[in-house]
Symmetry: C2
Subunit: 339 residues, 2 copies
């Protein structure tokens, strides 16, 4: 860390869900800023990336279950964060159908614990609550692109849990004066995303087809659905800017503004890999209820904080393929050029 | 029980929150119908009323925590209810500000357990989910009386938990085909209501003033707020009729259609008791955020199932006073006429 004058105090970020995909990208973004930051990472899982080696960041990690309010209270009080990025969540829509209570236990109750802690210790920190495009739920084509004023109509237990979280956050802003900014973040994609997410699963399957030729088909759920995909690096830059420029109590869509079907995602990736494949639908991957098209409007975040989404879908997908090539078992057995 | 032909099977009601105020009134209503009914009562608390002595009812009680899904599953499977009246809840709005997580744990998660059980055992039973006028939350005067189509905007953790419950129920109707009817029930009053509810607290205070003259004031929160009060006997008759005539997946307001301030409630009760009192406000009884006026429209339930609210506010209040006179310590030390 570079030396600073005595009265200087680096900005402090508390990150929940520290061990996850979005957190890692947020940390990398902070590290790229050429400023000193202190980070306290909290997660129930130990991170599988090496967080000690970022030049500009002083990072501590605490393995913590956010349901343990007393422990959380002590950590937040001792750290005195300027910002809290609340990423911890049970983010599987499919899983929320299997076990709906989990969506509430793990999304809502831990968030309430965090808010109660911030309220109790009278912290003035700014919090970003990451919500989801799933809150919009059932929408008509005429409602697209979705703006923040649209009345939500969630159509999965996950979406309902997220919407409840948002309503609670607004109440804590209004009644208890907490400084919370809310996002409705659309489908993330990016290198290192978990393979339980559709595009990461396609990446894995396609790269393995390319180098192992285990047949010529990709297994997917309903590939006709259209989603608004955004690169995780654009997402974390939005969060950084929202901490600086966002308005307390406001909801911001974080999205690309464009929709694409899963079918077309697979086609683009197949072209990048020069593969000719067939899609085989696995009915078990269909959800009990799903929305055919979700596309967000990013007009509000663009006009209010000057954020722009910068990474094209093709770049994101190439990046995912390259990452998988160089970080999977395939890379051990194949000398591969970067595509 | 009267004898019946072999192929006759009494209708079976499963009642959660069996030991509470609404349940007791529902049972009394069933008993008045001159039909045979079987009831399985479930509650975490043992009832303090004698449920064995109703002529037309065969009642079993099981002390059960609805969070125990396996036990609940066995009970519901063995009983094979025709109807489930889901009254179990943590129904304190004030308490939801003290401990918001409780509202979710005790309202939402237990309801999800119940729905999952009904879904798992493929029961065709009809369920009434009792919701709350608190779901409407912040409303404009021009929105009154509140109709079911009004977009909810809950302004307490309790209201948010109730709305989440309603959204989940609608999803289970649509996706899993469950037969659920939803109510938004407004402020209940009636004999035997717990003294943590405003009107029951006024009853107790006023009757004690009358016979002990411990000063001349009634302690209350903000008495300017206007609410739509409905006698619990009208409420349980609505639930009975909704089981027969309600439409699956629909929401019904259960309310009187009239608003009255707490101040006026106290005035009416003082007149009945011929008391001249002063109201002293206890600031600690104020909620962090409250709605000044809530009045519902009962047009939908009236037109669809032919229900009418029959008991006047004055009758309800007299009844509460009489009940308190004859069931409290006062009755032991005073020979009191029925007022």
């Amino acid at each position: 860390m570079s030396e600073r004058k005595n009265n200087y105090r680096s900005k402090r970020y508390l990150i929940t869900g520290f061990s996850g995909f979005v957190s890692r990208n947020f940390i990398e973004y902070l590290n790229s800023k050429n400023e000193d930051f202190e980070i306290l990472g909290i997660d129930i899982r130990i991170p599988d990336f090496e967080y000690e080696f970022y030049n500009n960041l002083k990072i501590n990690f605490q393995k913590t279950d956010l349901r343990e309010r007393e422990k959380l209270c002590k950590l937040v009080y001792d750290f005195q964060p300027d910002y809290i990025l609340h990423l911890a969540s049970y983010s599987s829509v499919a899983g929320s159908w299997e076990n709906p209570a989990n969506s509430f236990q793990n999304n809502l109750n831990i968030f309430l614990n965090l808010l109660e802690v911030v309220k109790t210790i009278r912290s003035m920190c700014r919090i970003i609550l990451v919500g989801s495009s799933e809150e919009y739920g059932d929408v008509k084509i005429s409602d697209l692109p979705l703006v923040e004023e649209k009345i939500p109509n969630p159509s999965s237990p996950f979406g309902i849990a997220r919407l409840s979280q948002e309503m609670l956050a607004k109440l804590y802003v209004e009644v208890h004066g907490l400084d919370i900014i809310l996002t409705r973040s659309f489908n993330h994609i990016g290198a290192g995303q978990g393979e339980n997410f559709a595009v990461a699963s396609f990446t894995k399957q396609l790269v393995e087809l390319k180098f192992h030729s285990n047949g010529d088909f990709v297994i997917a759920g309903d590939v006709s659905i259209v989603r608004d995909f955004i690169d995780v690096r654009d997402v974390v830059r939005a969060y950084y800017l929202l901490f600086q420029e966002g308005r307390k109590g406001e909801i911001y869509n974080v999205c690309s503004g464009y929709g694409i079907s899963l079918q077309n995602i697979i086609n683009i990736m197949s072209d990048i890999l020069n593969l000719n494949i067939t899609i085989k639908e696995d009915i078990s991957l269909r959800r009990p209820k799903d929305n055919s098209v979700i596309i967000g409007s990013n007009k509000k975040i663009k006009s209010e904080i000057g954020w722009e989404n910068e990474i094209s879908l093709e770049d994101s997908l190439s990046n995912m393929i390259n990452y998988y090539l160089h970080n999977s078992e395939i890379s051990a057995s194949n000398k591969l050029p970067t595509l």
